[in-house]
């Protein structure tokens, strides 16, 4: 309360002048984080910490999701919003996880003659015009009374943390980059808001802050990481970071922790005994849009 508006403005000026986080010296990084801690603590009325734990040696984060077990409850999406300080509210809701609902289609006896030429028309096919569980008709705005809904399958998506991320390639200022332990992160203070990364992402995994995020003071999660869940500003892009603030401290991401069916698994891909490594070795595993050569570290599997 003793801080005047001038002091606040000064701190934001210093923030504005700071360089790209990756290129800062350790002292500069510490200064930048301390500056943010002061500002966030004042803005949200609680002690906010901005962590800077770097990537750990010998760790490559990977994720696996059992699509047979997902029931579409979307607790993961909600937990993610709360953990990662996303914007809420009707007019500016940001969710990093989207759970796609897919109708189970079927081939039916009645349609046997559909698509056959009448007179001298063109033959286009038979039963083929109702989709049978395809990703690209994905519906993610559903309000069921109970889950899972009958005849529905679910496919949660979020950032795939590609090994060869198209978003990183197109960024004109290198504000988004792949960390050594796997996650693709954004230096929110360096982002110029051009949205090229959003165009380039084949998984629709990035969100833009069209105005200042609506983050209620009381709901703000004060345990943050500079590259992860710290509050964002208007005009920048944000995305899932595998809960970098948790996972670099040996915890699970919030979505893994909250999943009621245990469909979500997380671990170190370099450790052959980790849960994800075992799944990749033993289960039927696939990655989304493999033809694009993005090599996601997000694996879908089924029992």
């Amino acid at each position: 309360m003793t801080m005047s508006d001038d002091a606040r403005a000064n701190m934001e000026w210093a923030e504005w002048f700071q360089g790209n986080y990756r290129l800062m010296t350790d002292e500069e990084k510490a200064l930048a984080r301390a500056r943010l801690e002061r500002r966030y603590s004042r803005e949200y009325g609680k002690a906010v910490s901005v962590d800077g734990t770097p990537a750990q040696e010998g760790v490559l984060m990977g994720y696996a999701l059992n699509i047979k077990k997902c029931i579409g409850c979307r607790r993961c999406a909600k937990a993610c919003v709360e953990e990662n300080n996303q914007s809420r509210g009707k007019d500016q809701e940001i969710e990093w996880i989207r759970v796609l609902k897919m109708e189970k289609g079927e081939f039916s006896q009645e349609k046997m003659n559909q698509g056959y030429p009448e007179g001298l028309g063109i033959q286009v096919g038979g039963n083929a015009y109702s989709p049978a569980g395809v990703v690209l008709e994905g519906e993610h705005y559903y309000q069921p009374e109970a889950v899972p809904e009958k005849d529905s399958a679910y496919m949660p998506i979020a950032c795939m943390q590609c090994e060869k991320p198209p978003c990183v390639k197109v960024c004109p200022v290198r504000t988004t980059y792949r960390e050594a332990d796997g996650p693709v992160v954004i230096d929110y203070n360096w982002c110029i808001g051009c949205r090229m990364c959003m165009s380039a992402c084949p998984y629709w995994a990035r969100r833009f802050n069209w105005s200042d995020p609506k983050l209620p003071k009381e709901a703000m999660n004060p345990v943050t990481h500079y590259l992860g869940n710290r509050p964002r500003m208007k005009g920048v892009v944000e995305k899932c970071t595998f809960c970098i603030q948790r996972t670099r401290k040996g915890r699970y991401p919030a979505c893994v922790e909250v999943c009621p069916t245990g469909a979500r698994k997380f671990g170190n891909l370099l450790d052959p005994n980790s849960e994800v490594s075992r799944i990749i070795a033993r289960k039927n595993v696939f990655r989304l849009k493999a033809e694009l050569n993005t090599f996601p570290k997000f694996f879908y599997f089924m029992d």
Binding site: N20, G138, V170, V173, W190, M196, S199, W204, D212
Partner: protein, 422 residues
């Protein structure tokens, strides 16, 4: 140095003086620019939430106009190329006007990019040395590079020519001609790189065509000269500068070829996509026929096609092409058709459906339209200033010799001369 100072002073004095019609035009543009200032204030203070953009369709009117105007800038080369490579006399006399158009078009591109940016206050992050420039990876970085390069090439080339004309000295061709040749190739590069900006992303199948760069060049070489023909006809009617019929006819021929070829490429694209009709054709299908009840873009697509076809038919008829009552109609149609094709016909449907198959609609808000009009107005103000000065020099109204004379007379009589203006 004194000459350079006189050049600047004479140029500005000539440009600011004009007829009531000139002032009315400037005031009209000023009014639109006020809208731009207001919109920019809102964008800066509150972010981009006043736009119709969403996480689904996150690039809209601003980026569409940017893409189109890069084409206009590149299209200016349709004057310079015949003038200097084929020594076309009519165009050679007015080639500098093309360079002036290129300068203002590139400046408009920059204005639109600034409006499009979420954080334009951080643009310095792109500057070499103090920021980071993601070369050679980022197409946007390349695009910025070629655009700024083109701006400087035209500024240097154009004003060098005007300055030499002003002082009555001959051009140093060893300096000037390489500049011209480089700028011709560079003009091709700016729209090519802009096409690369979009078509290098397999995440957006509608754009992922190797045909896009050549189609961009062809539409640019139709829309650019269309605007130039319109400007030339206005210049002929409103100033003492006579632009030869041969120049206008040459441009009309270029528009005819390029428009025809671009229509052919559109047809190829439609056939390629719709015959196989894979999931990747959804964007084009949405654009042409609408899908899932969303059909906002359908009239734009067919309207644009009708305009381009109409223009092509007029231009293809020799009698109509050489008739200067029909030619402006064809040029306006081509210009409008390509503007829609680049915006509503290319940029927006590229985002629909999203990579996960979601359909949504985009329509610009009033504020977006106000800002867009303001950016165009500011661009046209720059164009007016540049063209008026250039025409003054071509006519000999601004010249170092008369300026010196006038200075003597002015100090004698105390009356400053007012050159006759439009």
């Amino acid at each position: 140095m004194d000459k350079l100072k006189r050049f600047a002073i004479d140029y500005v004095t000539y440009v600011v003086k004009g007829s009531p019609a000139f002032y009315a035009w400037v005031a009209f543009l000023g009014l639109l620019i006020l809208g731009l200032l207001y919109g920019t204030y809102l964008h800066t203070a509150d972010g981009l939430r006043y736009t119709g953009l969403t996480d689904q369709v996150h690039d809209g009117l601003y980026l569409a106009n940017f893409v189109f105007l890069v084409g206009i800038a590149a299209g200016a080369v349709t004057i310079v190329f015949p003038a200097y490579v084929y020594h076309h006399k009519g165009l050679h006399a007015v080639a500098v006007l093309g360079e002036m158009l290129a300068i203002s078009a590139v400046l408009m591109c920059i204005l639109f990019i600034v409006s499009h940016m979420g954080r334009p206050d951080r643009l310095w992050h792109m500057l070499p040395v103090i920021g980071i420039y993601n070369l050679p990876n980022s197409m946007l970085a390349w695009d910025t590079l070629v655009l700024i390069g083109y701006l400087f090439l035209n500024l240097i080339g154009g004003f060098y020519f005007l300055y030499k004309k002003y002082t009555g000295q001959p051009l140093n061709n060893k300096f000037y001609m390489p500049l011209i040749y480089v700028s011709i190739v560079w003009a091709l590069s700016i729209h090519t790189v802009t096409a690369f900006l979009l078509n290098t992303m397999p995440s957006r199948p509608m754009w992922h065509h190797s045909m896009m760069p050549i189609r961009f060049i062809l539409t640019a070489f139709a829309a650019g000269p269309s605007l130039i023909v319109l400007i030339f006809l206005i210049v002929r009617a409103r100033t003492r500068l006579w632009i030869d019929n041969s120049a206008i006819n040459q441009l009309a021929t270029i528009i005819t070829y390029c428009l025809g070829l671009s229509l052919f490429l559109s047809l190829s694209e439609v056939v390629t996509e719709l015959y196989a009709n894979t999931e990747h054709a959804l964007g084009l299908q949405y654009l042409m026929f609408g899908m899932h009840g969303f059909n906002d873009l359908v009239p734009w697509f067919w309207g644009s096609l009708a305009a381009s076809l109409g223009a092509f038919v007029i231009l293809l008829t020799p009698g109509l092409r050489r008739d200067y009552r029909w030619l402006p109609i064809a040029c306006s149609l081509a210009f409008a058709g390509i503007w829609v094709e680049k915006g509503m016909g290319l940029l927006v449907p590229g985002f629909i459906p999203t990579p996960i198959g979601e359909f949504s609609q985009y329509f610009p808000t009033t504020l977006e339209i106000v800002v867009t009009l303001g950016n165009w107005a500011l661009g046209f103000l720059i164009l007016t200033i540049l063209l008026k000065g250039a025409i003054g020099i071509l006519l000999g109204d601004i010249a170092y010799a008369t300026s010196m004379q006038d200075r003597v007379t002015a100090s004698d009589t105390g009356v400053s001369p007012t050159p006759e203006l439009t």
